[in-house]
Symmetry: C2
Subunit: 164 residues, 2 copies
DNA sequence: TATATAATACATTTAATATGCACCTTATAA
DNA sequence: TTATAAGGTGCATATTAAATGTATTATATA
């Protein structure tokens, strides 16, 4: 009996896996929108402010803000005194659609790298596609407003948003 | 106007994202099971055979076979003339359960790296958890047998499985 | 007893994401 | 009108996880 057996250790597999996750980018995007939804009307946020609040790299926030701006979800303004704010109400922002926007790849299998031999007769892709759709449909039942409900006060306090 | 604007190129964002995918490991695991389901009864496959058939690294197949063996899905046998075969019928092997087995992480957000500040008041985790469940429920409607239906002959030919 | 096979361990490579840094563009307030 | 603060863009680097590579061990059978 080996030492490992004697110690009843689980065998190593080199790498095990992590996946089926949204990227942090998407997570950060949603958190940014939560922050914006809590801002008093008229107030703008800055990239720096979001970056510090959530301890996210400036660069990531930069990209997120730029993308949300291009998508028409927030209004961005350059220059001194600039910043950005929600262009739509939280009720209008569907979580499913936001995830589709922020997440680059929602395809669940690749089939192409390297090209899978059984592709012509493989039903897996269809079945996994359906499952992904079910995932998104589930998210589409919610809007940004649902993420805030009953929690606005707590969130405003945690995020230290000044309401004067 | 810059050259890039003039050429109407999309701006670079450093990295964009890919995710929400199952690992190849899981994909390979399912393909291995498809192969085994098509074998004539009494025949065994070997790691080498699967590895060559699908052009997957031996090591990956090795891990998959080991895991499936430990899970009681296949019977593995060492030594000369050894190999492995399905211990259950394709009808008994649920795709949703197989994905849960093969995929390590099905959690959709982390919340912990670094620890998210709004965690105590955040509903995102719950909503994403529901969506993941919807994904799995969709997969649970299928078994390995469904992946073969109407395609067995085509697959046997593509995979060059000898039925003598 | 030689050989073929799975089991285990660990090292290396690859690929994707996240972050860092520099600079450009734009708007405003002093 | 100019300094400054903001977002926009591009590219380089670091980090991380997955995939693969290489040995070696254990086991069964011809």
């Amino acid at each position: 009996m080996s030492v490992k057996q004697a110690l009843n250790l689980t065998p190593s597999f080199g790498s095990l896996k992590k996946h089926m996750q949204l990227t942090r980018y998407t997570d950060y995007g949603l958190r940014t929108l939560i922050y914006l939804a809590l801002l008093p009307s008229g107030r703008r946020a800055s990239i720096d402010e979001i970056s510090k609040t959530y301890d996210i790299s400036r660069n990531n926030v930069n990209k997120i803000v730029h993308q949300l701006g291009k998508a028409g979800i927030i209004e961005t303004k350059r220059g001194k005194g600039g910043g950005f704010y929600l262009k739509k109400t939280p009720q209008e922002l569907n979580i499913g659609e936001l995830v589709v926007l922020l997440e680059n790849t929602l395809q669940v299998v690749e089939c192409t790298t390297p090209k899978c031999r059984i592709l012509p007769a493989c039903k897996l892709k269809v079945i996994l596609g359906q499952a992904t759709q079910a995932f998104l449909d589930s998210l589409k039942a919610y809007t940004l407003a649902d993420l805030l409900e009953d929690e606005s006060k707590a969130l405003i306090q945690i995020l230290n948003i000044q309401c004067d």
